[in-house]
Symmetry: C2
DNA sequence: TTGTACGCGTTATCAG
DNA sequence: CTGATAACGCGTACAA
């Protein structure tokens, strides 16, 4: 920047102003600075800028996994909003582990991110403390956290699961099964199981433990689950509330020649585009994944830039997409 | 850090050393510093550290899209390696646009990233110049770039496409069609088309323009393509070299009751787990997506940390997975 | 092994 | 509208 200042015949302070707030500088000088910048190929040092101004234009995002395509729309949504406003995105995956999340939060604090987005809603104690002490704006997105760190943009996993079960019951199914990912380290799975139970209670149906399964992620898991539930537990409808389990089950039915929904009805949780194209297309929920990313990024920036100071809590809801599989 | 130094009764320099290179400091002092850090909840400021030491521990990654699940395994691979070595990842998507890529490169340079990973192998002129001037380590991953900026970790799109066409020919197919994404802004598509043509030439088959299609991404595109190629151009095998086109086509065949491969054989380019579970499972290529991410990250770090100064060029190859769809 | 002085490249602040 | 000066929080280089 010193070189630019010399070349333009002004002080570094004027260069700084010409670049960050062009209107505060005379047209003539602005022109000269721009010329000098172009001639020299000057690239400002945001590290120095952030250090000096005590605020960075970087947002941190921690998801359980970067491999799972589930998070892609959210990340894309975040990315869009940030880019439009000149912010950068730092991402990391915590592998569904609380301690790793805590370590990543520390690393992001060390980078002096301006705000943090967390998919998980369960956190190590230390993490909550650190964030509280740092006073950093935070948005959680995986679930309408009952005890949020700060802001939340999400949908209710429990309500969504409950609604789908009620929907299946309305269609006439009575032995409705639920398959989720392991609930041990996963708030979302737990909430979906709670929604399932709530619906059964509402409907006066007894809980049959054989109709609730936890399976690891992956297509083969779904295939295995459908066989166990149909042959072993006489399920007439299966609600796969996680990952791509429903897709695996659907293919397994096809391989075995089981009519869907004749032999068993299928429903999924996430609206992968794929589900609508399968034969038959699969009943599922519409969750506003990309919108969650966009809104979360937006309220974070609103807070960072002082346009708001509320502890926002946004429920973006969901919607049932009824298709031929049920 | 000053507070920590006071609390521990040492100078800030000693604190700095105790944290960055604990062995250079006496055990007694190390203990006192650690205690003070814990008591105060001190989080080092990497911005200041990087500014002072002129090197950051942040890597930049630019992909065409964050939404496309194709990039997920690569990003995950990158993330693993970086995290193990204490580096952070900054990501952005350029939306398949060269100018946006150039803008992002500038933004990353401004953040003083220690290295850059680019999926694209075509870049705006300005971008190449900036990178050359910055002398930043760069890895390109989308293709074995013939004219790389710096290092490359990838596979040959042309060879892969060529190999698949030869494979289909060996199986007896003679009217082999190719479907790619629009090649205008996409080096990979162009390379795959070149491979297709090379194979035809090798086999002494004439090029039939009706057997080469460019389609936008998405399942419906694949569905549309299979209909046009089978009914309009009597293709007996279709090689879908991009996105999820093959999956869309497969479902369309199912909807129409077209036997695969009886009526038409299908082959895909990427090894989505899904392809192996469909009925029938789909012939495709095995591309080392995650490995590309890991290796790319590794050679970047090797260079950054001075363990190597070669202009590495790694071809990770591919493999044909023959399945029942052909 | 520990400490001192200085500089990294910006921006905030205040004076002109 | 423009400039001088002093931080920002750390690491490098040397000295003790």
């Amino acid at each position: 920047m010193r070189d630019v200042a010399q070349q333009a015949g002004v002080s570094t302070m004027t260069v700084s102003r010409a670049l960050s707030d062009p209107e505060k500088v005379s047209p003539e000088i602005r022109r000269r600075v721009e010329a000098a910048v172009a001639a020299i190929g000057y690239v400002p040092n945001r590290l120095a800028g952030s250090l000096s101004s005590q605020n960075s234009r970087v947002i941190g995002l921690i998801v359980p996994s970067l491999e799972n395509s589930l998070f892609a729309p959210t990340i894309q949504g975040v990315s869009e909003v940030l880019r439009r406003q000149g912010y950068q995105l730092m991402v990391a995956d915590c592998g569904y582990r609380e301690e790793d999340e805590a370590a990543l939060i520390t690393a992001f604090l060390a980078q002096r991110v301006a705000g943090l987005m967390l998919h998980n809603t369960r956190h190590a104690d230390g993490a909550r403390q650190m964030l509280a002490r740092a006073g950093l704006p935070v948005v959680e997105t995986g679930e309408m956290a009952p005890d949020p760190i700060d802001m939340v943009v999400s949908y209710s996993n429990e309500d969504a699961a409950r609604a789908m079960v009620l929907h299946l019951h309305r269609l006439g199914y009575r032995r409705i099964a639920l398959v989720t990912l392991p609930a041990a380290n996963n708030d979302r799975s737990r909430a979906r199981q709670a929604g399932f139970r709530a619906a059964l209670a509402e409907l006066g149906l007894a809980e049959d433990p054989r109709l609730m399964l936890e399976m690891p992620p992956g297509l083969p898991s779904g295939a295995e689950a459908v066989v166990r539930l149909v042959e072993g537990a006489q399920a007439d409808a299966i609600f796969f509330a996680g990952d791509v389990l429903a897709i695996g089950a659907h293919f397994e039915c096809q391989r075995r020649g089981w009519a869907v929904p004749g032999r068993v009805a299928l429903a999924a949780f996430d609206n992968f585009e794929l589900l609508g194209q399968m034969v038959p297309p699969v009943t599922t929920l519409r969750l506003p994944r990309a919108e969650i990313g966009r809104r979360a990024a937006q309220i974070l920036l609103d807070r960072i830039q002082g346009r708001s100071d509320e502890k926002v809590r946004i429920d973006l809801r969901f919607e049932i997409i009824q298709r031929a599989s049920s």
